[in-house]
Every structure is written in C-alpha cells, then in structure tokens.
Symmetry: C2
C-alpha cells in the first residue's frame, strides 16, 4: 500500500527545516570557536541552547513522527534514497524523543559554560577550577545516556549517536586485539634509536607555514571557493558542509607539532564534506554515516599520504625553498623519519601514528568507568595518570598535559573518542584496498591527488548516508572490521623506518 | 486587576527565545557578508529563510499573543521596564501577524538570491542582469507593505519597522524644509574654490590604515573584548550586540574614501550596541528604539568628532608618523579642509556631510514612487539619473555608480534610507545639547573621549528601548525634531571652512 498522500510532503519539509537549522548550529558553533569575542561567549551559549532546544522540539513533534511512521510502513513508492532519508530521520527521531527538551537545553548551556571554564583552567593547570563544571556535565550526560539506553549499556547509548550500530560488545574485543599487538610493537620501536627530529623545532615563519599549508591542502583538492581555513585553539573541521566547509588550524614556531599536519588532517574531513552528494542537499543522507568513517578520511590524508616517503619526495624541495633555515640541509630520509618519530608523549593531538590509539584507549576506558560510576570525576587526574604511565610509559607532569588536555568532555562529547581509533583502522583498510586499484605512491610522488580523491569520492564521499557506515566500509574494503589491515600497514611503514618487525 | 499568574512566565520565555534566535540571525547574517565562501551562499539563503520563518512562527503563535494581551490589559504588577518589554513585543507581534509566514520565507529567499546577483551585476555594470531579481523583490515588498499598511500608506508601513511613530506626513515637510535650505547652501559651497584634497589619494599602506583605524576606534571607547573589526565589501555594524559587536570596514589605497572614516562611522553604531543596558539582555528593550537614533551615533562619531579640527589637532601628528609619504607636509588646516571637502559625487557612502542628505532624498522619493507604481523598476536607471542631475548636479556615468550602488534594495530594505537623514538631524541636535554640558572640542583635542561617551551612554545608550526613539530624542535634545540644529551646525562648520554663510 502506498503511503498516505501528503506524508512525503510533510516529511520532506520538516527534514529540510531540521537540516537547515542544524547547519545554522554548525555555523554559530564554528563562529563561537573562531570569531566570537570573549564577552560574547556567555550569550552565545544561550543562543545555541535556544536553537538546539528548538531543533529538538521540531524533531520530536508528533506530526513528523506520524509522517515518518507512515512512510516507513508504506514506502513502496519511495526510491532508495528517499527510503534512506526516512530511515535516518526515524533513527534520529527515535533517539530524540527519549531525551526531554529541558535536558537538551541544560546540556547545551552546561557545555558552553564548562568550555569557557575549561579554557581558563587549562591555562592555569588547575583541575579544581574545572571540576565544579565537569561534575554537573557528567551528571547530565549520564541522565542523557540513561534516557537513551532504556536499560542497556550507557556507553553504547552515547556511541550510537556517533557510530550507529557499533557497541561495546564489538569494540572491546576489537580494541583488546589491537592492544595486544600494538603495545609490544610500540615497545619494540621505543627500543630502537630515536631518529633525529631536531630540525622540526624551527622556528619556522608562521606566515610561510600558512602559505605552504594552504598550497598542500589545495593540491589535495580542497576547494577554497567552497570553504576556508582559519585559526582556532583546537583545530577542527566545521561549517554546514558541501559548499561551505570550514577548516581550522593553529600555528606554532615548530613544523611538528604545527599547522601543516593539522591542516592535512582537517582537510581530510573537509574533502569528505565537500564530496558529499550535493543532489541530496538538505536531506539526512547528505551527511557522513559515522564519525569513524569521517576520521578515516582525515587520518588517510594526514598519515597515509601526508607522512609518506612519496609525498615528501615531491614536497620537500618546495618546503626547503619556503622555509630555508634548519630545513636546508635535511635529506629526504631524515625528514620522513623525523615526521614519523614515535615518542612517549602526553598530548593526544600531537601524538604519532603508532602511539595514538593508546591515547584513545585511555579515554575509552575512563569514559566507561565514569559512566558506570567506577571512577568519580574528582578522581580523574589520578586515574588518568595511572593509565598513561601503564599504557604509554609517560606520567603527565600536570593536569593540562593530563586529563584536561581535550576539549571534548567540556562539551559533553562522551562516547566519541573510540571513533578515532575506528578511523585509523578504516583508513588502513581503505588504503590497502585502494592500492589494488591505484599506484598510490606513484600518484603522490607526481603530485597527482586527483585519482586518489576521485577513488574516495566515488566509493565513499558521494555515497553520503545512503548506506550505513559499517556496511559501506565492508563494501569498500571487502573485509569485515578488524585491526589486521592497520597492523599490516604499521608493520610495513615502521618496519622500514625503524627496522622493527 | 493583576495579570493572570503564569502570563509573565510565558511571555518572558518566548521573548527570550525570540531575542536569542534574532541574535543567531545577526550572527549568520554577519557571517554571510564577511566569512561565507562563495559556494555556500545559496544554502545560506535557505538556512536564513528557514530560521526567519521559524522566528516569525514563534512570534505569531497565539499563546504569545494571549500572554501579551493579558499583560497589556492587567499589568499593574509590572515595573516600568517590564511594561516597556510587553509594549514592544506587542508592537512587533501586531505587525508580524499581518504578514503570512510564506511571505516571510519568500522575502528572505529572494533577498539572498537578489543580493548574489546584484554583487555580480554591479561588478559588470549591468542593470539588466539585476532587474529579473529586483522586480520580484519589489513585488514581495509591496505585498508586505500592503499587508502591514492595512489600507494606509505603503511607505509608512515599511518605515514603521525602522523608525516607529514616524510617517510620511511628518517626513515630507521636514525633508522639504531641509532641502529648501540645504540646496542653496551646498550651491554656495560649490561656488567657492575647492580645497586641496590631493594628499588623500595616497597610496596609504593598508595595514598601517588598519592599525591606525583600530587605535582610533579603541580610543573612542570601542571594547575589542566585546567586539571585532573585519573586512566586507560594504561596511556595516552587525552581530548580536552587547558583548559581541561586529564592525566591518574596507581598505582602499586612499585615506578618503577609505577605512578610517568608515570605521569611525561603524564604531559609532558599535559603541551604541556595547552601551545598551546589559541588565535587560534577552529582552526587547536591550535594542535601540529606532534606526535614526542608531544612525545619529554613527554620524556623531564620524562627522562631529572624526572630521573636527580638534580631533586632527590631536591625531594628525600620529597619522603623519604612521603614514608618512604624502601626508608629511600637510598642515592641520589643509588636512581638515581636505577631509571636509564638499563635492558633486555619485556614491552615497563616500559622500561628504553637506551633500549626503541629497543622496538620501533621491532614494526616499524613488522608493515612494516605486511603491506607488509611479516608477517601474525597469525605469529606475533613468529616474535615478534624472534626479541626481537635478539635486546634485551630477549625472552617473553608469548604473554601478547610479541606481545599483547600494546593497539595501537587494535585501528588500525599503523605507530605510530616510532614517539616515534623521540620523544626521539627530546627531547635530545631540551635539548642540552636549555642548551645553561639555567642552567637546577641549576633550577631543586632549584625546579624552570618556566624558563624551559617558554623556551618550547615560542619556541614550543605557536607555535601550525603555522610551520610544522620538520621545527619547526630544528629552535628550530638549527640542522637537527639526532641521534647525543641523543647519546651524552646517553653517558653523562649513562657514568657517569655506567662507560661506
């Protein structure tokens, strides 16, 4: 039986409205991080909370639910894309109706407040200043997770919002398997002589970094007529997407950590956003289906491409010309070893490819323990430092290089970090499959990124959310999710760089 | 009888919501002009239209109307500020309910579309490219005016949204009186030898202009922790206000037209916004009561202060130090005559203080004729050029220095230009009254802007919309609205500069 006349019209109008308003939230969120003057932050928190609450209200409106139910039950007349739109809207709405509007507002307001306090507390290295705002945030997140979980696992309930279909039951063995191989592998690297990376310290001229970085990002295929790059404390990719993608980066005097690899990373996200199916603009399918998949794109461009021997075979001469100084006498092999140096370091965003997943693991475990009540928020510094000592062999010197380093928890983003590791696993599996179709190194060494981007566009970006993330990845990579491709990639790359096996 | 319990709670919550969402519209409107990449403009138009339509829906919601009616009828328990909030919300809502939601959306969508086309058409000097988007915009504005006017004058209906209480019946004699004095006065100036202003051409280093301009604006009292200054094609003051005020300017090689006086002008608006009563944030009274009053502040800082002999007595040495070059040998009197040069020019935003109101008069008359149907949109170039020839003695060479020069009509801002002249009249009356309390020139020459800003803050900015604009102006200036203070100011200033009477 065909759906009742008018159900599609009702559905489509509301879906477009919700998508438009979500895009507005993206714009003002970007603005808050990049443009908003200090004295405007508090009011911005109110504005965001009001709009977020209103979007929630529009989503849970029974009329929208009835149209979705009608189209779900009697959707024979719909095409595949329309069915996917309805399916995604239903998934989103089913979750939204479990969360009271007051809680939506409270989360948004507390996020804005907690973020402002965190920024100062992090500068002051003062966990006790952050604690009074983080505790209520965790209480609110726990309430939200309980409302969403409906008796199930709290972490699963939050993760579902970022990585639909993924659960702790799948993650735990996956991460345990990864950890079992990765920890001794990293240990073996630590036992090798550390490469020389002193040339990365600089100082490198910041404006020259900007120019060089923009060139690389443009070469990758990022369209500056459909996007921009600005500066923020924490690099991110924001904006509404499609024709308006906003990268941010940050400039230090050093090349690494620095703007260059951050920009490549965010450009990976941005290329995905610019490649989403424009023919489905203002619908639920013109979005990435999962954060893990999104992160696979950023890690692919940053690490698989940007830290490769082939890339620097092409770009090191240009970098030398741009920067001169300490770089002038560095040869290609030394440079590549330097930008792939593996270290015991405290900061996740500056971590190398090999230790990165251990940083994530600490967060994954602590989030689960905070949600279950096994770790109290006030005990976070101690629990954090113990786990860093254990997994990374590094004990943070203060909380700003410890449990206060990330922006996520202040905004209430729990259940999110594990998607970073999924992104790493996906990126390696994608690269493995792409290598069957393309000579990646040859294209990169020739500065031809078009075939690489085209491959990703056709198989991933242009698919939007027409297929669920997990199924799309299995289709693209031709294998079930696992850590094998990632470890093979790591052994290949770091084996060559460090002489480990 | 006291208002029904709960009416205030209902009213306040909805008012705050509407104010928050209006602030979001301000942020994304600023972003569209300053940050949005070209390919993002079309989607931004949709996003803005969706949010504007939603705000309209929240305003016209009967529950809000009932709370307003209850509080209007039985508001004895309210304090004066609360009564003013209710009164303003009622005024706003009474107008909103006359305009169908579909028309609100159509106006927003057409505004975004027309603006994009206008930008290109203006670059191409091609009125015929703009016409197909301007015609439907005028039709929509006429529909809106008819809905608002309810049988009354169409121009009045639009003007009421910008300058509440002002009508054509008051404006016509006011502007006629002004014109009768101003045209021969300007004519007398034209008959005098033109001052040397060649030193203004430059080239002046653009970054040095930025530094100097930011210094001046900061000296005026603009708080950069509660605001910012960026670049846009058309300078404006945007953002949500209070703690987040966004000035824009634009840099040319010349000093005039250039960034400096544009920045002073927008800073005048910005100082007003930063001085609005923060204790009434998120209410209808934390806004300026009229655009004319807003413009009075920008004209005051730009012209009364920024183009004064006293100002340059203090700042010319610093300007010489900053810019050097052509400026090094210019003496104070020459400089002040130069930045007050009166000319027959085609562009309103670059016009001098003496001819400016004649530019406005052309627009005021043409808007009324377009709304009445006396002038068709397609005949606009001819009508425009005829009137410029008549009033200003200048015939535009092409439509980009003619009827396509302003951004307003593309956005549907009709009934707006006349408030610019009201701003000039108000500014002169304010200065006249202020001179009774303060030695303005002495303070300016000493670089002490605090007492001047303090005077404006106390009497105007901090009053928000507690009092209607017209009554507030009469209270501040101690006289009814007229052109006398303005002409006295002009005769005093330009008499001295040009030797006219």
């Amino acid at each position: 039986m065909a759906a009742r006349a008018g159900a599609w019209t009702t559905f489509e109008a509301r879906m477009q409205e919700v998508e438009d308003l979500s895009d507005v939230l993206s714009v003002i969120g970007w603005d808050e991080q990049v443009m908003c003057p200090p004295s405007g932050r508090a009011a911005r928190g109110q504005q965001t909370a009001t709009l977020a609450t209103l979007v929630h209200e529009r989503v849970v409106d029974p009329a929208y639910g009835e149209a979705i139910a009608e189209l779900s039950a009697n959707g024979e007349d719909l095409d595949d894309a329309q069915r996917a739109m309805v399916h995604l809207a239903r998934h989103h709405r089913d979750r939204a109706v479990r969360v009271p509007g007051d809680l939506v507002r409270a989360l948004a307001e507390q996020g804005a407040r907690c973020n402002v306090v965190w920024e100062q507390a992090r500068r002051d290295r003062d966990f006790s200043a952050w604690l009074p705002e983080l505790e209520p945030m965790l209480r609110l997140k726990t309430q939200q997770a309980e409302a969403l979980a409906d008796g199930g696992d709290l972490y699963d309930a939050l993760l579902e919002g970022f990585e639909p279909g993924m659960t702790v039951a799948q993650l735990d063995p996956l991460l345990a398997g990864l950890r079992a191989e990765l920890v001794p592998f990293v240990q073996a690297i630590f036992e090798r002589p550390a490469p020389d990376a002193s040339f990365l310290v600089g100082p490198y001229d910041r404006d020259a970094q900007r120019v060089f970085t923009e060139r690389v990002v443009r070469d990758f295929g990022f369209d500056f007529d459909a996007g921009r790059q600005d500066v923020s404390t924490h690099p991110f990719c924001g904006g509404p997407g499609l024709g308006d993608v906003r990268l941010t980066t940050r400039y230090y005097d050093s090349l690494e950590p620095g703007a260059l690899f951050s920009s490549m990373h965010e450009a990976g996200h941005g290329l995905y956003e610019q490649g989403l199916p424009a023919r489905f603009a203002r619908t639920t399918v013109a979005r990435a289906p999962s954060l893990g998949l999104h992160e696979s794109q950023s890690r692919f461009w940053e690490n698989v491409i940007g830290r490769s021997h082939a890339f620097w075979a092409r770009y090191l001469p240009a970098a030398k010309e741009t920067f001169g100084g300490a770089l002038a006498t560095v040869d290609l092999d030394t440079f590549v070893r330097g930008v792939n140096k593996v270290e015991r370091t405290p900061i996740r965003v500056d971590a190398d490819e090999a230790t990165y997943n251990l940083h994530v693991l600490v967060r994954y475990e602590l989030e689960r323990e905070m949600l279950s009540g096994a770790v109290a928020v006030r005990d976070l510094p101690e629990a954090w430092n113990a786990r860093y000592t254990d997994y990374l062999g590094y004990t943070p010197k203060h909380d700003s290089e410890g449990c206060m380093q990330d922006v996520h928890w202040s905004w209430g983003e729990l259940g999110y970090f594990s998607t970073y590791t999924l992104g790493n696993l996906y990126a390696a599996a994608i690269a493995e499959r792409m290598a069957g179709d393309l000579d990646i190194d040859a294209h990169v060494a020739a500065g031809e990124f078009g075939p690489i981007l085209g491959w990703l566009r056709e198989r991933i970006h242009d698919r939007g959310s027409l297929t669920r993330g997990r199924e799309l990845m299995e289709e693209v990579t031709g294998r079930p999710l696992g850590h094998e491709a990632y470890m093979a990639y790591m052994r290949g790359k770091y084996g060559a760089l460090y002489g480990v096996e």
